[in-house]
Symmetry: C2
Subunit: 433 residues, 2 copies
């Protein structure tokens, strides 16, 4: 993409009403536009990040055997009356009437809709287990929306629901999702600690929240430092350990009862980006979902819910990956892997080299944002640092006289002077995994 | 995907309340579930088709230089009051209030929102042209929704908006979209005739609707038969000819004024799936959008809108591609390219061959639905014909004794007996383009 043509309306000033880093940086980098309180338009760079997050989540959901569906955003109030949540949900649920005066709502979550569909179609134990997920917009009418996309009213969520014939089946589904979540977050460049949640809920320990480590995080969590190594390699996830290792939010952490030796207990701030939990037969009972068992007996399926805040993750990733100069995208989610800067647009050799680099990288499937604008180099460096491509290539006449261009690692700040071919092969090697 | 695990709840009976073929077939093939009048849940097979359509549309929008954004589904009424459409739109627009009693609505289209964003950020003629598009859910509260996803209330639409400094620029943007649309529809296996629309509108002839040819189509169109050849090859689109060649809906067709010789004039039924049009400065004026020109003069940008009914296309594709036995997916949008049928699941050689075919094709990136269920062959053939994969492979002990399996072309009905390797290489060749 040529920056001269890209719709990335950066701001020079720091927006005064944005309280947290990700909100400020998303506004400064021209990623979002607030259309109403807590409701945002996603501009091209943010849309690319959302797409990348969705791609990772989809691949890992599919790999776990979950099947994608799409449920409508507008649902009948009847569904919610059947589960008893219509009255319980309160003002966060946006309720209204259609032209025929039927009560409808903008759905904040989809247990009711998916159980209704499953109850109509799944009739035999042979049809189970089933894991069904969607990535769809939701609405929660927060009384005081803030923190940009981190606590917006309209938000994009991945929600998955499992149906099994018994607790053991539900436990397997839960573990598949736990593994898929850990893999997804690692691929996004995040350390997301699975923290025990809501110990009073149905299913005992089958309820975990995922908190992305970020110094600006809203919650304080305590966890066994073994987790740091367990969360390294997506190809080697030990689910049993991850279900039993100690990790708790401040409010649930009791130092006296915690069995982890103090030297091994870490303390960090986190941002909640996901939640997985088992809830037994609550909804299958409400929707009269029954399947016939192997002996003709009738079984009420056991269910679980598994959510990831897709749009919230964009904010969380930035909270965990930025510095004073701007965003530092992890490679897995970066809107562009490489930022290419022409230091002198009026120099023919510079332009020719830039075109060569731009085309070669793009032909290899590596996304490039090429700053071809007539601007002074300082402003271009600042813009590229702000938008946060993991790698920068800087090309100018001085270096080219010696046959060299500059490669910068946005995260470490390290720069190297390399020949054009060396820079290309280095980048392709770095970005091939 | 193993059919024994796939959530594809087919119906044996033809649903009595579905009036058109696509609606009946989508219900029978377990693709959709109606949650309220005109509102559907999309089950896994339909979700795959929606994904495939979106992928084609995205690729062609990107290739035309359009940049993807995402606008919120819920918008403030203020935006619509500014354009004057809040009162004009009528009851099809779903209007309600949030918890703070602010007037909001579920957006049926996005001219207002995108012009508001552009007006805030685009300040110079150097920032134009811009083409911005989104693929997002919309809502129109149809008084009598029917025909399944063809006229639903909640629907998925691709909407693109162009901003140019003058009419000539707007014409170029219009032509880029015309070309992108033609390419998209050809890649979906459709013949979509660009029909002149609304000759009274601003911009004269810059308004065309795309009608997919289908014998069950709602509209009757007349067109120059040269179009049949002009719409063959996506690599060779003659935009000038496509803008001027004769094609009109019945209501706008006047045989006395039509210059096309009668022998050259074709008549066919069609389904509208897209609309592109230029509308000048209507919204840029309403939102006070001005950019500075090269001499410091102020310019009010010229705009156009370009829509494709993504969810409607699923129905239209089926209307144009089905027979008595079921759906016949064009390869570009097929949820699975190959349907693999095990004729005898209790035969070891059959199972081994099926696994080999399943894995080999999937490793080549070819999607396969493998019917591994214990069912009689006739029921399996019927299910696979109904779901409509373009190619079927049938494997059973009788053929395997001679080293042969059966390959069926779903569209032509032709079958061939081939060796396993020949069948694989034939399929890979057919599906590689």
């Amino acid at each position: 993409m040529l920056l001269s043509q890209y719709f990335m309306p950066t701001l020079k000033e720091t927006p005064s009403d944005a309280q947290i880093a990700s909100h400020r940086l998303m506004l400064r980098a021209g990623m979002i536009y607030q259309t109403s309180a807590g409701i945002y338009g996603w501009l091209p760079m943010a849309t690319r990040v959302l797409e990348n997050i969705q791609r990772i989540v989809r691949e890992e959901q599919d790999r776990a055997g979950a099947q994608e569906v799409i449920l409508p955003t507008i649902q009948s109030a009847d569904l919610w009356k059947q589960s008893g949540r219509y009255d319980a949900y309160g003002q966060e649920m946006l309720r209204f009437k259609d032209r025929h005066e039927r009560e409808i709502l903008y759905t904040p979550t989809a247990e009711e809709a998916i159980t209704d569909i499953a109850a109509h179609h799944i009739k035999s134990y042979r049809d189970l287990p089933k894991l069904l997920y969607q990535i769809q917009w939701k609405f929660r009418d927060e009384i005081r929306p803030r923190f940009g996309v981190m606590r917006g009213r309209e938000f994009l969520m991945k929600d998955c629901y499992s149906f099994d014939i018994d607790y053991e089946g539900a436990l397997r589904s839960y573990q598949l999702m736990l593994e898929a979540y850990i893999k997804s977050f690692i691929r996004m460049g995040l350390t997301a600690i699975p923290v025990k949640a809501d110990p009073g809920a149905i299913g005992g320990n089958l309820s975990q929240e995922f908190h992305v480590l970020a110094s600006t995080g809203e919650s304080l969590i305590y966890y066994d430092q073994k987790l740091d190594t367990l969360l390294q390699d997506p190809k080697n996830i030990d689910v049993d350990q991850l279900m039993n290792i100690y990790a708790a939010e401040e409010t649930l952490h009791n130092p006296k009862e915690c069995a982890v030796p103090e030297a091994q207990l870490k303390q960090a701030r986190g941002i909640e980006v996901g939640h997985i939990f088992y809830f037994g037969t609550k909804y299958s009972e409400a929707f009269n979902m029954k399947v016939s068992g192997p002996t003709g007996n009738m079984i009420i399926p056991h269910m679980g819910s598994y959510g990831i805040g897709i749009s919230r993750l964009v904010g969380a990733i930035i909270e965990a990956n930025h510095d004073d100069a701007g965003i530092i995208w992890p490679e897995g989610v970066a809107p562009f892997k490489v930022g290419l800067i022409s230091i002198r647009t009026d120099d023919e050799a510079t332009t020719k080299t830039c075109r060569h680099l731009y085309e070669t990288l793009q032909n290899q499937g590596i996304s490039v944002l090429y700053d071809d604008r007539e601007e002074r180099p300082g402003a271009k460096f600042a813009t590229m640092d702000l938008m946060g491509a993991p790698w920068q290539l800087r090309v100018g006449p001085k270096g080219l006289e010696k046959g060299l261009i500059e490669l910068k690692n946005r995260r470490t700040g390290e720069t190297q002077e390399l020949s054009i071919d060396s820079a290309l092969s280095y980048l392709m090697q770095q970005l091939s995994h």
